[in-house]
């Protein structure tokens, strides 16, 4: 059999806001198109199913060096992943993650948020980050940080109504995401303040 292909190196995971991507360095073979295949193994497979591996068909014989594994990393357990290169019938050894990946380590960014005063109503627009995300929105009268109020927003709609405001008073709002599946929250967004003024909002 021809010389074995080198196994893919630098296999790592980029995970932000519960979107997980496997990346690796390309295997360079002059004049050849190298294709890659990816497989995953959860803790269940390691401990109860003879350490079996499951192929990810969307990342089978691909030329890219990145694979979206979000759909398969769907439990809060330690996952292992592996990649191998192929040229025609030739296959490399599997290259495997150095450290297992658990989605609990995903990095969570504060949500994009826009605060609106519509007349004397305080509203917030939040970025739709997918079904895994809820939002904890805190709002308070400026200067009364000790009397913050909280609203949990489970479904992102365009303008979520927070509360009614006393005319001429400044209200401030900040929000963080919460991911129930991993029981973690992001840091808070920047605080935004508005003032209700007879039907037109005024940014502060």
């Amino acid at each position: 059999e021809d010389a074995l292909l080198p196994a893919p190196q630098n296999i790592s995971i980029l995970s932000t806001n519960m979107k997980h991507f496997l990346t690796w360095s390309p295997v360079i073979i002059q004049g050849e198109t190298v294709r890659y295949s990816v497989e995953f193994q959860g803790e269940y497979e390691r401990e109860y199913a003879n350490e079996s591996w499951i192929p990810i068909c969307e990342c089978s014989l691909i030329t890219a060096t990145v694979c979206n594994i979000t759909e398969d990393i769907s439990a809060t357990v330690a996952y292992n992943l592996r990649v191998r290169a192929g040229v025609g019938a030739r296959r490399s050894e599997w290259g495997t993650l150095k450290v297992f990946f658990n989605r609990v380590t995903t990095s969570l960014t504060p949500p994009l948020m826009k605060v609106i005063a519509d007349g004397s109503h305080l509203l917030v627009e939040l970025e739709d980050m997918g079904p895994a995300f809820q939002f904890c929105v805190l709002y308070w009268k400026k200067g009364q940080e000790s009397r913050m109020q909280q609203k949990v927003v489970k479904e992102v709609r365009s303008m979520v109504h927070l509360d009614t405001m006393e005319e001429g008073t400044d209200y401030c709002v900040k929000a963080q995401t919460y991911v129930e599946a991993i029981n973690r929250s992001s840091s808070f967004s920047q605080t935004q303040c508005v003032r209700a003024q007879g039907g037109t909002s005024k940014w502060l």
């Binding site: 995953f40 959860g42 803790e43 269940y44 497979e45 401990e47 109860y48 199913a49 499951i54 192929p55 990810i56 068909c57 759909e71 398969d72 769907s74 439990a75 809060t76 357990v77 996952y79 079904p131 129930e180 599946a181 029981n183």
Partner: protein
Amino acid sequence: LTAGNKIFHFGPCRVSMSLTEIRSGFTAIKANVQARDPVRTLSILSHPHSLHKVKSSDRCCITHHLFNFYVDKVFKHCKTEDSYVNRKISSIANSFLSVKRKLEQCREQNKCICGQESKEKFEQILLNYEALNITSAAIKSLGELDILLDWV
């Protein structure tokens, strides 16, 4: 029992379970898996005794038994020729393993007491399971996940 989707209270045992992902994983393969189970006259979980008739004091123990049952006995015998179904089964199995671990902590801290009823109930489930060959029993159990999820 708090029916929310986050923290489940089984008496003193508090377990955070995100059943949404398990349920959406199961819904994606429900028709496929149930179609592989031709036996209408036998149920693993719901007959002759329904899960819904279990006393609340025994719920934690039965839940623990059932998550162990699925992880130890069921999922490994559910491999199909369909890679999409296999990936969803893996997702459900790993989620079950995560919950099983949490329930184990409750057992170790004596917060999940097993009474006579849960013992008898689970024995009946095993009898139902052993009345079929292992692959049919496993596929039938997998097809009944919504019975378990509706009850939990």
